[in-house]
Assembly symmetry: C2
Homo-oligomer: 129 residues x 2
């Protein structure tokens, strides 16, 4: 089994991007997490070019499905995201981008985009393993 920790050293960026599984629109969801306090800040969508730009520039780039254009997070607001790592999941169809976030991540002004509690019932705590 290949050691995932070696992937970055042994394979070119283009080959790593080619190994991702984009959906039928050519997109992959990217979860953005604060590298300091682990807050999940937002989820954006990237195509192969947005992943390439994110890997090569160290800033987050996304594909806007509504505007049909690339956007760099913070380009207008100044609330930039400085990439610390980009990880793919076991199915290679989702990315986790760990960043240093400047200012609030959400366009509403909150630190994270996830603020609306749906009010889940809580199940009993699992027995510690």
């Amino acid at each position: 089994m290949p050691d995932p920790s070696q992937a970055a050293d042994d394979v070119s960026p283009d080959a790593r991007i080619d190994g991702l599984r984009f959906d039928d629109r050519g997109l992959i969801p990217a979860v953005v997490q604060d590298d300091h306090d682990q807050t999940v800040l937002m989820v954006g969508w990237m195509d192969a070019e947005a992943v390439r730009r994110t890997l090569s520039t160290g800033r987050t780039w996304f594909w806007s499905r509504s505007r049909q254009e690339y956007w760099q997070k913070g380009a207008t607001s100044g609330h930039t995201q400085h990439v610390r790592s980009v990880l793919a999941d076991c199915d290679a169809d989702t990315l986790l981008v760990r960043v240093e976030q400047v200012g609030p991540a959400c366009h509403t002004g909150t630190r994270s985009c996830f603020t609306a509690d749906l009010g889940a019932e809580q199940s009993s705590a699992p027995v510690p393993s």
Copy 2:
């Protein structure tokens, strides 16, 4: 502007689910995060019924796009996820599910599904604000 923290008290679960924006397949991505150490464990997909089951049972339910069926995380492996909260993002098209995870979250045996480093260039650290 409505206070998101009030949503869970004032609105029925069905109304909360009706307020979500599912994609053209009727699905919404759900980021699953460990409620203790904040690790991002996995991303799954839910339709309205999987959200309803997750909110009402306190366990995570997903829709399998490959098998075209509902699955409860851990039903066969025992690696269950006990829901602590379910939050929607500002666009109501992504969920963040915070859980107590029993055992590894990934079917490969790792704690998180996100293990394959794509080798991003790191930009210079932002100036603290």
